[in-house]
């Protein structure tokens, strides 16, 4: 990797850290892009190439991961939605259901014994929702099978 490529990736990492830290604030893509010293369009493309999802998608998965922790602790769906920086209950619920597969209220009512036994920093990564994204290993398998 060239020093310039490393520098660009480090800028993207700083923007990702900003999202992870300030997810509850009203973050928009231009603010994230400014942290990465890039134009919003270039930033979105570069971020997606590096991390496999768009910056906005990363923000929403981060918010939903935090909302899941609040719901497990017994917070109401409306309060959890607002606490993680989402302003529309409808879009929060539909995004939650799209990623997790069940509604926030159904998730809140479920048993959470295994997650309670983990330290929060482990639960954060283990419960982080993941979209079905491309995988280099899967691509190789697909090519090999063809």
């Amino acid at each position: 990797m060239t020093p310039q490529e490393i520098e660009n990736l480090a800028h993207l990492r700083r923007a990702r850290d900003l999202i992870d830290r300030d997810y509850a604030k009203p973050l928009d893509v231009p603010t994230m892009a400014a942290k990465a010293l890039m134009s919003p369009a270039h930033f979105s493309r570069q971020f997606r190439a590096a991390y496999g999802e768009t910056p906005y998608s990363h923000l929403m998965t981060r918010r939903i991961e935090r909302a899941m922790a609040l719901l497990r602790a017994g917070m109401t769906v409306t309060d959890a939605c607002m606490a993680v920086g989402c302003t529309s209950l409808g879009s929060f619920s539909s995004r939650f259901a799209e990623i997790i597969g069940i509604t926030p209220s159904a998730y809140r009512a479920r048993e959470h014994d295994a997650v309670k036994a983990m330290p929060a920093c482990v639960a954060k990564s283990h419960t982080r929702p993941a979209r079905q994204a491309s995988s280099r290993i899967e691509e190789v398998r697909t090519i090999a099978a063809a």
């Binding site: 990492r13 700083r14 922790a69």
Partner: protein, 136 residues
């Protein structure tokens, strides 16, 4: 029969730049410095845990170009596993590390499971968490 951790490896982009973080900011001592070709392995440790060496080396040390590139990419993206230290004075350690210019990920906070900790990025992008040690 006993077993203990003796060495752990931390991959860094630039060993010199990282010594400033691990030695000068965190307060570890350099115990060994080995050069081989273009690469360098620097071992740091602490009197609080004698016998444990933390070895810094670059992503290409002992690896192929392709593996080094993959390691370098993950390192810079900040997705390699974190390192967790503890200290008997979290607030003082946090201020020292912050004053060194390190990227702050999280100021000291009480976590939900009864631990107080803070987090930084080292100069290469590794997540370094520092926890308050339990009272003796």
């Amino acid at each position: 029969m006993t077993i203990a951790l003796q060495f752990t490896n931390v991959t860094v982009t630039d060993v010199d730049e990282s010594i400033a973080f691990y030695r000068d900011a965190l307060g570890l001592e350099v115990q060994n410095d080995v050069k081989s070709g273009d690469h360098r392995w620097v071992t740091l440790g602490t009197s609080a845990q004698p016998g444990l060496g933390i070895v810094l080396s670059d992503p290409y040390a002992g690896r192929s170009q392709a593996d080094g590139d993959a390691m370098q990419e993950m390192l810079t993206k900040g997705v390699l596993p974190m390192l967790v230290f503890n200290t008997d004075d979290l607030d003082a350690t946090f201020e020292t590390v912050r004053a060194s210019g390190a990227e702050v990920l999280q100021e000291p906070i009480d976590t939900g499971w009864g631990q107080r900790d803070c987090a930084f990025r080292d100069p290469s992008g590794n997540m370094v968490r520092i926890a308050q040690a339990p009272a003796a």
